[in-house]
């Protein structure tokens, strides 16, 4: 039987955190709630208190000060969808948002809520990890920062303390040439990723890869990076990012993946696809960077 719960609506981060500590582990921070409602209906969770954080003002924004993108934790996915696409990373994020769930869910789902749901198939995870993003969180012990990469510790579980709220997502946007891309395998036009890959590359002034991050989703218990793929890419000239080389990078990425078989896809299919996706992500990035340098 589904749990009955009380509803609370704090109007500040401080009061929300305090409330969470008081009400304890049977309480849940609730933003858009699009994942939590389903978990509550299926009795995966049995909260006794719902702490609706969406009344906290000032946590929905997308700001770009030139070297840092700052996105408020309560920014909705539809707001992300409408972000100004001038910045290459924001463009990728906006495109990723369009792929997520349905237009109705995007209206109320928040970035913080989506990240805290910690799904290895979640589209934002690999995208943000590739962008070297980090989170600002506030909890009982005060405020701290952590890379998105360490947020998910296993499917459905984050490394956050139960009192911590994600208030901001930060993405460094250095002025050098950079591009990112995200690709996934899906079936119908609204779907969860069966397997996904994201990449981001920054070039030095000689058009050589200064840093490359390749992140992969739905091929491990968390969203992981491929050290092997990244090692191959770092130090390579932009002009070499094509053809057989990219295929090798894709193959290398697959060796870092440990997919499982579930109701959506088999491990073999996921292994085979991650190669293709990583390669295609890099082709996208190469196209974008070549377009820029012309």
């Amino acid at each position: 039987m589904r749990s009955d719960f009380d509803y609370h609506r704090p109007d500040s981060v401080e009061s929300a955190v305090r409330m969470k500590c008081e009400l304890g582990s049977e309480s849940r921070f609730w933003a858009g709630g699009t994942d939590l409602v389903l978990q509550w209906k299926s009795q995966k969770i049995k909260p006794l208190h719902c702490i609706d954080v969406t009344a906290i003002a000032g946590l929905g924004y997308i700001e770009n000060d030139g070297s840092l993108l700052r996105i408020g934790g309560l920014t909705s996915l539809s707001e992300l969808e409408r972000a100004d696409r001038q910045d290459p990373y924001l463009k990728t994020l906006a495109e990723v948002a369009c792929l997520m769930c349905t237009v109705q869910t995007r209206t109320i789902a928040t970035i913080a809520g989506n990240l805290c749901n910690a799904s290895p198939a979640g589209d934002l995870f690999p995208t943000l990890i590739a962008m070297d993003a980090y989170l600002k969180v506030v909890g009982e012990a005060g405020g701290r920062e952590l890379p998105v990469e360490v947020l998910m510790i296993s499917p459905g579980k984050t490394s956050l303390h139960h009192s911590e709220l994600v208030t901001e997502i930060c993405i460094p946007t250095p002025s050098q040439a950079r591009a990112s891309s995200y690709r996934r395998i899906d079936r119908t036009v609204v779907d969860i990723a069966l397997v996904s890959a994201a990449g981001a590359i920054r070039l030095d002034s000689n058009n050589v890869v200064e840093s490359a991050i390749i992140a992969m989703g739905a091929v491990a218990p968390t969203v992981i990076r491929s050290a092997r793929a990244e090692a191959l890419l770092t130090g390579t000239a932009l002009s070499a990012l094509n053809g057989e080389f990219l295929q090798r990078v894709g193959d290398a990425a697959a060796t870092d993946a440990t997919p499982i078989t579930d109701v959506r896809a088999s491990a073999e299919y996921r292994s085979a696809m991650i190669k293709v996706l990583v390669r295609r992500v890099l082709e996208d990035i190469s196209d974008s960077l070549l377009g820029e340098s012309e």
């Binding site: 589904r2 009380d6 709630g33 389903l38 609706d52 769930c101 109705q104 869910t105 209206t107």
Partner: protein
Amino acid sequence: MTKLTVNNKKYEVSGSSARTLASVLRNDLGLTGTKVSCAEGECGSCTVLLDGQPVTSCLVLVDQAEGRKIETIESLGRPDQLHPIQQAFIDEQGFQCGACTPGFIIAAKAFLAENPNPTEDEASIAMSGNICRCGAHPYIVRAVLNAAEKMRGL
């Protein structure tokens, strides 16, 4: 006690907070035009507008809707005085069984408010947040384009 403003009318609803807006609209307020099918935010048949934006009300807690402007299919028109979107759906027969229709029409209303002159592709993608199991897909898209034309002419 939760105060809701639905279709410009004020309601006070008592009862547990552990209820969705969809179930309160249907069971407490008798507004059964909003349909509940999948109850998991996939099919869109429970779509309503919250401050003009489309949401699947099966995922919204009733208390979260307090203080917001809620619009359901009942706000749009009556059989003797239909909204242009409703008339467009009839003209193109963008429905068969009708169970998904209120959800599509509300989603279309929000879409057309933002994009009054959509292409066929844009309309088709925009309507993909809703499912029509009967398969009226192309006629739904034509209905949205027809509605856009009607509303531009107003």
